[in-house]
Every structure is written in C-alpha cells, then in structure tokens.
Symmetry: C2
Subunit: 342 residues, 2 copies
Amino acid sequence: MAGPKQREYVVAAVGATGAVGEVLLRVLEERRFPVGELRPLASERSVGSRVRFRDQELAVELARPQAFDGADFVFFAATGSLSKELAPEAVRRGAIVIDKSSTWRLQDEVPLVVPEINGAAVEKHSGIIACPNCTTIGFVMALEPLHRAAGLKSVVVTTLQAVSGAGRPGIDELKAQLAAPTRAEAPEPTVFKAPIAHNVVPLCEHFLENGYSSEEMKLLHETRKIMGLANLEVSMSCVRVPVPVGHAATMLVETERTLSPEAARAALAAFPGVELIDDPSTNRFPTPADVEGRDEVLVGRVRRDLGSDRIWLWQVSDNLRKGAATNAVQIAEEVLRRGLCE
Amino acid sequence: MAGPKQREYVVAAVGATGAVGEVLLRVLEERRFPVGELRPLASERSVGSRVRFRDQELAVELARPQAFDGADFVFFAATGSLSKELAPEAVRRGAIVIDKSSTWRLQDEVPLVVPEINGAAVEKHSGIIACPNCTTIGFVMALEPLHRAAGLKSVVVTTLQAVSGAGRPGIDELKAQLAAPTRAEAPEPTVFKAPIAHNVVPLCEHFLENGYSSEEMKLLHETRKIMGLANLEVSMSCVRVPVPVGHAATMLVETERTLSPEAARAALAAFPGVELIDDPSTNRFPTPADVEGRDEVLVGRVRRDLGSDRIWLWQVSDNLRKGAATNAVQIAEEVLRRGLCE
C-alpha cells in the first residue's frame, strides 16, 4: 500500500569526486535521503569524470553559481576557498548549504552542528550550516554524554589521526610510501611534513603563530561552540598516524561532579550514535580498523585516573563517515525533520 | 705511544639473538666498551645460531648457570622468567647483572637506573642493576630537565609505541600483516591483541585487574623510582602504532614553579642525552624515523597549554637503543667509572 509520495529534493554535491564526496553519495543512498535529482559538481580538473549514484553513472559538472539554480541542498565537501567563493552563491539561489570546510564554522550566524548534540541549532541558520572538523566530531560525541551526566570541566586529548583526514592526497601519499621497497626509495612527503609510512607525525594541517597546529585550534574552538561551553578547557595534541581511515584519541576528562567509570560507561552506552566496546578481561576495545565503514563513535578503555577523579577513555570514529559525510547528511535530515526546507 | 693496557672484562649477553640483544652487541662495539671476552647466550631454541661481534662470528651457547663462571658483567635482554631464574645465579658467581626485563625493577635493593638522571644509584647495588622499560626511559629523560628547572608536579602522557617494543616477534607481525595484499588476507594477530598494520591499538602488553595495561603501570612506578618522586602524579595511556622502531609520546607537564616554554626549551637542550628539534615556523619536529639508530632522546613542540601554566611537549626515542641497549651499556660504564667492578 503506497503512502502519499514524499517530496524529493534537488541535491548538489560540490567535491563529489573527493574522499568525503564519494562517501557522501554512498551515505545519501544508504540513508534513503529523498534525493529527486543529484548534481555532482567539482572544480575544473575533475569535470567530465563520472560518479555512481544509485544505479546511474553521472557526469561531474563544473561547480559554478549557475549549477545551484533550483537546488534545495548543496553539500560542500571541497576546499575552503571554493566554499568561500561559492556557498554564498548557492544561498542566494535559495539553497541550504551544508559545508564541510572550515571556512564558515566559527561565524556567529552559522550553526555548527552535530545533530545528536545540538540539532536544534539548525533552526537559526541563514543559509549555511557548518559540519565540524572530523576530529572534533568524534571528540564531542564522547564528551557530550559525560557532560550531561556530570558537567564538563576540562579535557586533555591526544589524537591519532588517519591520513584520509587530508583527503585522497593523504591516502595516496601513505600508499606510495608503503609501496616503496626501502625508506630511502619512498617518495618525498608533500601532503604531510614528514614521511608518514612506518612513522607518526606530530603535525596535522599547518602550524599557527602560537605553536599550535590549525587542527588543534579547531578542536578547541569548535568543541566550545558545539557544546555551548565558551570557557571549556581543552588541552590538545594532534598527531598523524599511518592509518587509512579512522581517527582515534585518548581523552582525560574532568567533570564538575564526580563520575564513576561505571556511570561514565552507562552514559556513553546510552547516548545515540555512541557504542561502548570495553572489556579489558577479554581484551575488547575499539580500533580504527573496527570503526571503518561504521557511523557509530566507538568508545572503550573507560577507567579512573589513578591520581584524581578524572576519567580516561579511548575513542575512535570513521573520519569520512560520522566525521564528515554521515554527519552532513544527518544535518540535512534534521533540517527536513524540523520543516525548515519548505 | 701506547698507554697502560686498560683492564678488559668478560661480558655475557643473555638473549643475544633478540631485537635488543643484537643492538646491545652493536652498542658495546660502538662505545668501545672494554670487552675482553664476549659470551652470547640464549635459551634452547637459539643455541647454535651465530652472532657477529667485532670481526668475529660467535656461536650462541645455552644460558645456564655455568655459563656465568668468570663473567664480570651479564646483560639480560631476555624474558622475565629467564632473568628471574638465572640472574641470581650470575650474581652468585660474582658477576654484576644489568637486567632489561621488568622482573627486578621495583625491588627495593635493586637500583633502577638512567645514568643521566640517577647514575649514583648504581653504588647501592647488590649484584643486580635494572634498566627501565623502553617507554619509561624516553619519558624520564624529557621530565628530568623540567623537574630540575622548576620542580615536577604532575604529567599526563599518551605514548605511541613502536612494535619492536615487543621484540622481534612484534616486528615480524607488523611486517607479515603489511605484506598481505588485503586486510582480510593478513595473518591473525598473535603478539598484539588486534591487527597492527594500518591500525593503532590501545593496549601495550596486557591488561591488569585495574583496567590499566602492565605497560602503563610500569610508566608510573618506574618513573617515581628513577626520579625519586614517590608521589608524582602520572596519568597515562599507552598505544601501539605501526612503526618498526621509535617510541613517541605527547606529554603535558605541570611544574611547581611556572616555567616558560623558552626556559623549558633551554633546560631540555642543555640536558645530556636530550636534543631539542623544535621550530614550527620551518615545520621542524622530531619523529620516530628521525630517532631510529640514534642515542639521543629528541624533543619538540614545546609550548604553553592554552588554559593553564602547563607545558606540552613531544618526545621520541629509539626504544632499542636509549630505551634498552644503550642505557644498559651506559649503566655498565657508570659501574666502571665509579670503580665498582674491581
């Protein structure tokens, strides 16, 4: 028995051929997002390549203002400069932009959204809704349940980030270096600032004047905005590791009220989008290999710090899915659920 | 003009064919340790294999009590159980034992020594001197200069540890998994509790009843003993990474008196055995690939925490050299320098 036909939407995807763009198309399919027409867009050099969506092969067209005519949603999974230039053009044409770049995230009038945490923030959008950095999303997904349970005071975090956080060029650089017969014969680093195969690199993105990396500062500022905690103390070190997909982090969390490891585990397990995998007695803990291809943020090794009331935990998430494409599609779903796309 | 002939010593090396044992022989050569006779020893299954020392090939003999007759120094780079059984036998025969296993480290009558930090502790030995865990050595080498400059209060550390920390079997397991054409075809993990190729694993060694790994507890207790700070707060997470050689760590250090990043850098750079590689403006920082084959502990990314007076830093050390063989030979040199081997 067929119900009334659901409205379908014109969806454009800028950066459709990139690492995140490709996963975005898969996630739109899997979640049965009501796409009536899909427009895969990209910058000049990818025009003419083809992407698959549902059972069709679609030609990639140039990302330019006219390509947004009649679009309801435009996902940007491209460079910040492309988003800066083109997102306002899409908004001007009546589309809602969901942007994965860092360009708009900290603008006051732009909601920065992880739907499980601050879905209601989409209500206040002025055309652009920002999706947080991949590292931030796994981080706040593990923090929010503890915050709701006991109030968050501070957190010390070290991330171990996959190369796909730097997009397809990051994946390709690791592959090429791993394929070299010896380290001396490996291609010179270009995406990363040191060899990444058989190595770890204490720099994600680039350094700022204050000695922190841009990635580290995103983790601080985006977390404060998403969680609505303007003074939250975040102490952070971001490290790149030779893993294709799946960001991991160690987190030492201080709460306002004492939280037992058992209560922390219960709060995490009950939170939508978080899965607890935590049993030292059977060596059960999550790793990047376990989370690849999944939407849940996996948490384990929840334990009391030995010298304080703080809680240690270990967290992994698929940086291309919940860290990017899945979260972006969830934002669009939130917009529909709230009737914000007439 | 030849000086008076220096006394030479009979040196036995238990575990001479292992990852640490092999490096131990190289370090004894490089540092011109006054070896008159070298006896490479091992358990049953390595007997008969051959090792190189100076220009000779030597047959590996069985590690048994009689093999220590007449030995001045016995290095143990073997399993804890072999050390537990045989170290007292070597001591009974008049040798000084320098042990790399965890068996004796926390015994009151056994000095636990990093010569740059507590070299004088060797004076109080009763036959056995313990060499700390590889992870501990890099850690305390970076902490001690800050402690001397401003008094140490607490430290939060996340380690990223190379597979050779688990010896040759760890190296072999990573290699075999990396060589597999696909993840599904990779050999099952045996040394580590999850696949280590293209992955990171939040468990080093094994879990204890309190939810911490044995590796993490070593870091706490050994650090307190070496530095003579019985109440030092150490908050620690140890993670295995797919790197052959070179342990890394992020460290957030709280001092009694405020220490500027500049003063911290100066203290680190001036400390023997530590080298500072730290210039964000030119993307200079140390990585495991830089430290492999070196004896110095390399430190970089020294910066002020954004919400407190604490200091962040990044530290790497060669776990087979300064983390094991080099430190063991330095202990023997300290014994000679202090005239403790008559």
